[in-house]
Subunit: 201 residues, 2 copies
């Protein structure tokens, strides 16, 4: 397919809009499979025009996965109520992560596909591990305070929680008719209270 | 990397062992990114020797994803106890799917990455949809009998259940020290009974 924007009518990009297109291309073709030529073609720019904004595709990847990670850590660092229990904070982190995933879908998708073949990718994997570690700590504190079951390893619980959240990238589309609030409520309810009908229902 | 098996000492393959190697290569490089030359190199065979066993890489893909799908449908069709409720059957399907995923990890991984660019891939996607549909039906029956909460759409519950199960391909390794029975029990317990400590714990 040809880019609809011809050479004589080049679009004006800033770093944010350039990043937006680059992330779509990375997700379609894979980061490793995308060259600067392809990026330039899809942007309707020359390669040198791209280099005016960024040093190369690795910087674009760093900006993109950094955006996803910053949004996820912001949820973790948010303390809406200082009196909240660890269990309430954990539920807040799970719910908020679904909202981040929906709001930053292409950026989170790219993040979750990073495999670690470069310094930028290694750094992203390190930050993902740090995030997982902090969630597992929160699960441990929630179990210690008696809010969360203590018969399953906190790291395994943390993996199951974020396995469920992350699996949404495979099918959730924000414009598909399921409001993100409904999705986040349902996911949090199933994971915290289970699928079984309660005794009162 | 060179294949350790030299040209003069070609390994003997049957279809099953040839498939086993092909699936590893497809998962590493992507199905679309794998050519018959690469397959031949990794197998230590000539291309014509491969064509002695299969008609091409599409047949290999069909055999591989068919194996994963057959194992998943077998769990769905198993009726261990004819008197089992729909809720018990649903829990059995979730638990059994984790066991299939662990036992057939490379085949299920390949299946979950199929995107539908060929007839074989379209057929695999059709069978996946059929599986999802039958799970959603089971959720509806479980809700109708009062075993499963009815405040969340059965299709959404089905997606969340299998989102959690399928996310295991991202991190679970059968030789990594976590027994599959422990994993299947924990996943089923969290999804059905929730993360919250029960009143009696």
């Amino acid at each position: 397919m040809q880019n609809p924007v011809g050479r004589r009518d080049r679009p004006a990009y800033d770093r944010a809009s350039l990043l937006e297109v680059a992330v779509v291309v990375f997700n379609e073709r894979g980061y490793d499979g995308t060259g600067m030529e392809e990026l330039a073609r899809r942007l309707g720019l020359s390669k040198s025009s791209i280099y005016h904004h960024v040093s190369g595709k690795e910087e674009l990847l760093g900006l993109a996965v950094g955006r996803a990670l910053d949004a996820l850590f912001a949820v973790l660092d948010e303390v809406p109520d200082p009196a909240a229990t660890a269990t309430e904070r954990l539920a807040h982190v799970v719910h908020g992560s679904v909202e981040v995933l929906a709001a930053e879908l292409p950026y989170v998708t790219l993040l979750l596909r990073v495999r670690g073949n470069s310094a930028v990718e290694q750094q992203a994997l390190d930050r993902r591990r740090e995030f997982d570690h902090r969630v597992a700590e929160l699960v441990s504190r929630a179990a210690a305070e008696g809010g969360v079951r203590d018969d399953i390893d906190p790291h395994l619980i943390s993996r199951l929680l974020f396995g469920t959240v992350n699996s949404l990238i495979e099918w959730y589309r924000p414009d598909g008719g399921l409001p993100v609030a409904t999705l986040a409520d349902a996911l949090t309810a199933v994971l915290f209270d289970g699928l079984r009908a309660g005794p009162g229902s």
